[in-house]
């Protein structure tokens, strides 16, 4: 579902992403870990077609993103770190708008159904987004992905700033989407959440994918150790 083939992005002399090869299948959650500037967001931007690769290519549902920008976006949903919706509109209205511009029409009942499925309480459905917490907005983001019937979900630091409860709920939602066959790529700093939800974990450093392993084959402690080793943070560990 999500593939990259020697995907490279260079800004002048600086290599932001260096020959990245990813292959994320349906029903798989791939967590990209790495420090700031490791190339996680660049990878997502390239998959979204927001920036052009210096070399290599990115594919969504076997469509080359750079050659089929609009088509490839039909299959994906994206939740940024700070999901900003329209504050004067309600959750239902935001959902209707974002699914509408993507060409999908739903009744109020259907829209409320998506919001409920995304875990948003019923009484919040018709409240203005301005009063929503970050966790609630992320749930609307998930509802947008559900309404879009996205095959691919790209997440950029979705749990940063969420309290543990909200983060846990978010993790559960990702599992629901995974079970529906959605291929998920999540860039995060959150080792704990990555270990909880991921099927595969990749660690990036300076634009390169340094480590890649199956989440179930590793404990959280091992993950932390590998991560710190990869980042050369070993000396900080007591």
């Amino acid at each position: 579902m999500i593939n990259t083939n020697n995907l490279t992005k260079q800004y002048g002399d600086h290599i932001a992403l260096d020959r990245l090869n990813l292959n994320i299948e349906q029903g798989e959650i791939y967590c990209l870990l790495g420090a700031n500037g490791a190339g996680k967001t660049t990878t997502i931007n390239l998959l979204l077609g927001f920036i052009q690769p210096t070399s290599g290519s990115a594919f969504i549902n076997q469509l080359n993103v750079q050659e089929n920008q609009k088509k490839s976006k039909r299959f994906l949903a994206y939740i940024p770190e700070n999901l900003m919706l329209y504050p004067t509109l309600s959750a239902v209205e935001n959902l209707r708008y974002f699914s509408g511009i993507g060409g999908k029409e739903f009744s109020i009942d259907e829209l409320e159904g998506f919001l409920t499925e995304a875990g948003l309480q019923k009484e919040a459905h018709h409240k203005r987004i301005a009063s929503f917490s970050k966790g609630m907005r992320q749930k609307v983001g998930i509802a947008i992905a559900l309404a879009k019937d996205a095959k691919v979900l790209l997440l950029d630091e979705p749990t940063s700033g969420l309290d543990p409860k909200a983060s846990n709920e978010f993790g559960q939602l990702l599992q629901t989407l995974k079970n529906k066959g959605v291929a998920i790529l999540m860039a995060t700093h959150d080792l704990f959440r990555a270990k909880e939800v991921a099927t595969t974990i990749g660690i990036m450093k300076e634009g390169k994918l340094k480590q890649e392993f199956t989440a179930k084959d590793i404990t959280l402690q091992q993950l932390e150790e590998v991560y710190l080793n990869t980042m050369d943070y070993k000396q900080l560990v007591p």
């Binding site: 931007n45 927001f50 949903a77 999901l83 919706l85 329209y86 004067t88 708008y97 509408g100 511009i101």
Partner: protein, 476 residues
């Protein structure tokens, strides 16, 4: 996407009270401008009516005086003002040559605060020295009149700038652009649709407000529907131009602050600087001959001819044998000589006058060549044409007055040279002035306005595609 964008815009703009705010602003501006414009036109109409009433009253007195004289009664008035003399009537009882305001005069002050709207040409007066200029406050001239054309030309663009400078940039700054751009939409189309909604809103509110105010004011909109349509189309063309500019600036993707500064800069340039610079250049390249010098020339010519008035009169009578044949008294007074010399003065002055007029024509032609540089000029000119307050309207009025002055003078010439008295029976034959308004079509300006917007939009669109600079890239 169009339906969703329109509904979305309607909801967001209603909830953040933008629509209400804009509606009120437009209503207040247009209401005040209409009130202000009407006040000026009413004052102009009152001045003209007062002048006409004055003439009517004077005419009554004149007829009474003629009656007294014809009855052989003695009258207590200087002999040169007694109206049995044709020259006394021609000089002391002139008609009002008024430029009555057009039905749409209230929409654009135009040149009306610079020129007077009635004059009274006399038989002995000089047409070229008739004073058409009006005393106007320089402060008023500096800031312009708060009329409908002022609202459309100066204020509507500012409203459009405030309403549309940050369509794309606000999404970027709020963080919602990335979510939007992750959908299979064209951001250019998205911006166009948002601007289209705002364009329709501004256009609709402006049309409804204008139509409503005119109807409330008791203006006969239906009899003047052609002009109303022209006014609306000119306004729409101008509003469209500013929305096209807003689109270009939005897509060129600066920050909201940068967009606002660029759009305000364009407003200053296109609305204030370009018209002013063109006007200054026109005056420098085709400077108008001094009117004072022309009047000095005229005085000199008069001095010259006054020294040979007998010779001039002889020549004049030779050219007009009908007066010599009909005249049995051979009485040749001051006016016989003066009027004959006046004809000569007018003839002698023709080159200077035509030089003045030709230079004015050249200056206007030169300005016309460049008016496309600023849509504000096109709109101002169009609105002045609709209102009947354009330079060409006042030029036409001046020419009509000049023609009427000739008619007035020539009416008295046979009476003067045949030494006939002016009688009560002659009163009804006195010529009167009726201003014929000059209808100038605004179609060319209208077409030019839409073509400018089209060319601007297309040029930007094509260059954007050639550069391959996709709007989505501007998010980063």
């Amino acid at each position: 996407m169009l339906k969703h964008n329109f509904i979305h815009e309607l909801k967001t703009l209603t909830r953040n009270r933008w629509m209400l705010f804009l509606g009120i602003i437009i209503l207040v501006f247009f209401s005040f401008a209409t009130f202000n414009g009407h006040q000026k036109v009413e004052k102009r109409a009152l001045d003209i009516n007062a002048a006409k009433q004055e003439v009517k009253d004077a005419d009554q007195e004149m007829l009474m005086l003629i009656d007294s004289v014809e009855r052989g009664m003695e009258v207590s008035a200087p002999y040169w003002t007694i109206p049995t003399s044709p020259m006394a009537v021609g000089n002391y009882h002139p008609r009002v040559a008024a430029m009555d305001p057009e039905p749409w005069a209230f929409i654009a002050t135009g040149q009306s605060d610079l020129f007077t709207h009635y004059v009274k040409p006399t038989v002995a007066g000089d047409d070229h020295t008739l004073n058409y200029t009006e005393m106007t406050s320089p402060i008023q001239l500096l800031f312009g009149s708060f009329d409908i054309s002022f609202v459309i030309i100066y204020l509507l663009p500012l409203i459009i700038v405030a309403f549309s400078y940050n369509i794309l940039s606000s999404e970027r700054e709020n963080g919602s652009l990335r979510l939007l751009a992750s959908n299979s939409i064209s951001l250019q189309k998205w911006v166009i649709q948002k601007l289209a909604f705002r364009f329709l809103f501004v256009a609709l509110v402006s049309i409804l407000v204008l139509g409503g105010i005119f109807l409330i004011k008791g203006f006969d909109l239906f009899s003047n529907f052609g002009e109303f349509l022209s006014l609306v189309l000119v306004m729409l063309g101008y509003v469209l131009f500013w929305f096209v500019l807003a689109f270009i600036i939005n897509i060129s993707s600066g920050s909201s602050a940068k967009n606002a500064i660029v759009l305000l800069g364009l407003w200053v340039g296109l609305v204030l600087l370009v018209p002013s610079i063109l006007n200054q250049l026109g005056n420098s390249i085709y400077p108008m001959p001094s009117r004072t010098l022309m009047i000095n020339d005229m005085r000199q010519i008069k001095v010259d001819v006054s020294q040979k008035q007998d010779e001039i009169l002889d020549n004049y009578l030779r050219d007009h044998p009908e007066y010599a044949i009909n005249d049995t008294t051979e009485n040749r007074s001051f006016y016989h000589r003066y009027m004959a010399s006046q004809m000569l003065v007018k003839k002698e002055l023709e080159p200077a006058v035509s030089e003045f007029e030709d230079q004015l024509k050249r200056q206007q032609q030169w300005l016309n060549q460049f008016k496309w540089l600023s849509p504000a000029i096109l709109v101002q000119e169009s609105m002045n044409h609709i209102a009947g307050t354009s330079t060409s309207d006042y030029e036409s009025y001046r020419k009509q007055v000049s023609e009427f002055a000739d008619i007035w003078r020539n009416h008295f010439m046979p009476l003067l040279y045949n030494n006939q008295k002016f009688s009560e029976a002659d009163y009804k034959d006195l010529p009167s002035f009726q201003y014929k308004s000059k209808k100038t079509s605004v179609k060319a300006n209208l077409l030019l306005l839409f073509v400018i917007s089209l060319i601007l939009g297309l040029t930007f669109g094509i260059s954007h595609v050639i550069k391959g600079k996709k709007a989505s890239m501007a998010m980063n």
